[in-house]
């Protein structure tokens, strides 16, 4: 049986790689993708905790479902903003977002 730590290490690795991508890349769509990676890292941790917790009620999994829904909403809105921005400026760089007026 794989110990809990291994799952958690995997989660941390995924989270920090996602964070790296968010910080380093310029393309907005890629930043959104990296945010998804971070969320996935969190999900792994939650499910791992849920599986190894002693109460066995699986509350961790419920949080995962909430995160799924929030991630879907976030991607929908994020990509809509991206496309609107692209139509406006023809660029897809994060640098474009320094001002918030359309």
């Amino acid at each position: 049986m794989t110990p809990l730590q291994h799952y958690l290490f995997l989660a941390v690795a995924l989270f920090s790689i996602g964070a790296w991508g968010v910080l380093a890349r310029r393309n907005i769509i890629l930043v959104i993708m990296c945010i998804e990676l971070m969320l996935n890292g969190i999900n792994i941790a939650l499910i791992a905790f849920s599986n190894y917790s002693l109460d066995g009620a699986g509350r961790g999994q419920v949080f995962v479902f909430f995160i799924f829904a929030v991630a879907a909403a976030e991607v929908a809105i994020g990509l809509a903003i991206t496309i609107a921005l692209y139509r406006l400026r023809e660029r897809m760089s994060v640098d474009e977002l320094h001002e918030m007026k359309g």
Binding site: R87, L88, R89, E90, S93, D95, E96
Partner: protein, 377 residues
């Protein structure tokens, strides 16, 4: 990079991305080798540039280097679905210049062949249209029934495609033995086949949704563009050379001309279907009242029409096919100009297509039934 960004002009409106799509010359839905340069916004057509000339054979120029008899054999290569109608106008031009009286029986035979050919052409239009809309079965039904007509034409002319049947002053052969019985059995059976097509196509909701109100050509617009044939009549203009010019012996027959109202794809389709029924009536009457007599007149071995000019047109399945012949009294035409309905139909595309989607464009192209063999000459 920031300086670059600041240089980019700020647009007050959302940008519309335009994509240029080269449809054709090799494309399943362009009826030959037509190239359409489509400017698209998404799937919406913004602008259309038809590019012609991929099938150009220079037939008008070739005519000036050949005697009349030689050139008559080349004519049926033009619109390869309505070959008889390609031969007819030139024959009529020469007859007009030389003032030849065509025997009555020959005129009737010409009409029989022409109407049979009209039916095959409309059938092909129907099958192609439905193939463009994504239904393959009508094409096969059409070919099944077209085979019988082509057999009939073979009996009469000896050819299945390039009939070469028209002669100056008449037709090439008299009807062979057994043709009339064959033809009558075909006439008896064919209306049921047309009903069969209609049952499959006309009542289909998807077909209606694809064609009703799509590709509308207004009455005035159709006249302005010089559209002829079913495309014009679908727009509500009652104009048919068989009635308005009453050439050949068409005055002897009782037949109707279907007229559409809205000028959309559905009307064009429906007009063609009805025209097939009317053609059957004409053939039946022609068979009933076929006069006796010769089918040809005696002519010199070399034709020398007197100097002068003549324009003669016939009502082909795609519209008015006309030839303008200028003769200087020599062995060869001085100039031959052909008026072609397909070219006109294609020239309307830049006007009608913008605002429609690609799928609509396919439907409109199919319903207009242009044939590049005629348009490029």
């Amino acid at each position: 990079m920031t300086s670059q960004d600041q240089m980019a002009p700020k647009r007050p409106y959302l940008k519309l991305e335009e994509m240029i799509l080269n449809m054709g010359p090799q494309h399943p839905a362009t009826h030959g080798v037509l190239r359409l340069v489509l400017h698209l916004n998404g799937e919406m057509i913004v602008k259309v540039d038809p590019v012609l000339g991929y099938l150009h054979r220079g037939l008008e120029k070739l005519a000036e280097n050949r005697t009349y008899y030689q050139f008559l054999a080349m004519l049926s290569r033009l619109d390869y679905l309505a070959n008889i109608f390609m031969e007819w106008p030139l024959v009529r031009c020469i007859e007009g210049l030389m003032e030849i009286e065509v025997p009555r029986r020959a005129e009737y035979l010409r009409i029989i062949v022409a109407e049979l050919n009209r039916i095959t052409s409309h059938q092909m239009a129907l099958g192609d249209f439905m193939l463009n809309l994504g239904a393959g079965t009508p094409m096969f039904w059409v070919f099944r029934d077209r085979e019988r007509i082509v057999d009939l034409l073979e009996l009469l002319t000896g050819q299945r495609m390039m009939y070469n049947y028209m002669r100056v002053g008449g037709v090439r052969y008299d009807i062979p033995e057994g043709f009339e019985a064959e033809c009558r059995s075909f006439l008896a059976g064919f209306p049921a086949k047309i009903d069969e097509y209609e049952k499959l196509i006309t009542d289909n909701e998807i077909f209606l949704a694809r064609t009703l109100g799509v590709g509308i050509i207004e009455r005035d617009e159709a006249i302005d563009y010089g559209l002829t044939g079913p495309n014009l009549r679908a727009s509500g203009v009652s104009w048919d050379l068989r009635k308005d010019d009453a050439y050949s012996a068409y005055n002897d027959f009782d037949f109707g001309i279907p007229i559409g109202k809205h000028g959309d794809c559905f009307d064009r389709y429906k007009c063609r279907v009805e025209e097939m029924r009317q053609s059957l009536r004409i053939i039946e009457q022609a068979l009933d009242n076929l006069p006796e007599g010769p089918v040809n007149v005696k002519l010199p071995p070399m034709l020398r029409p007197p100097a002068g000019e003549k324009y003669r047109a016939v009502e082909g399945p795609r519209g008015e096919w006309g030839n303008f012949l200028v003769s200087n009294g020599g062995l060869r035409p001085y100039r031959l100009k052909m008026r072609d309905p397909n070219f006109v139909a294609i020239s309307t595309l830049p006007r009608i297509l913008p605002g429609y989607k690609i799928a609509d464009m396919i439907a409109i192209g199919g319903s207009m039934d242009f044939m590049l063999g005629g348009a490029d000459r």
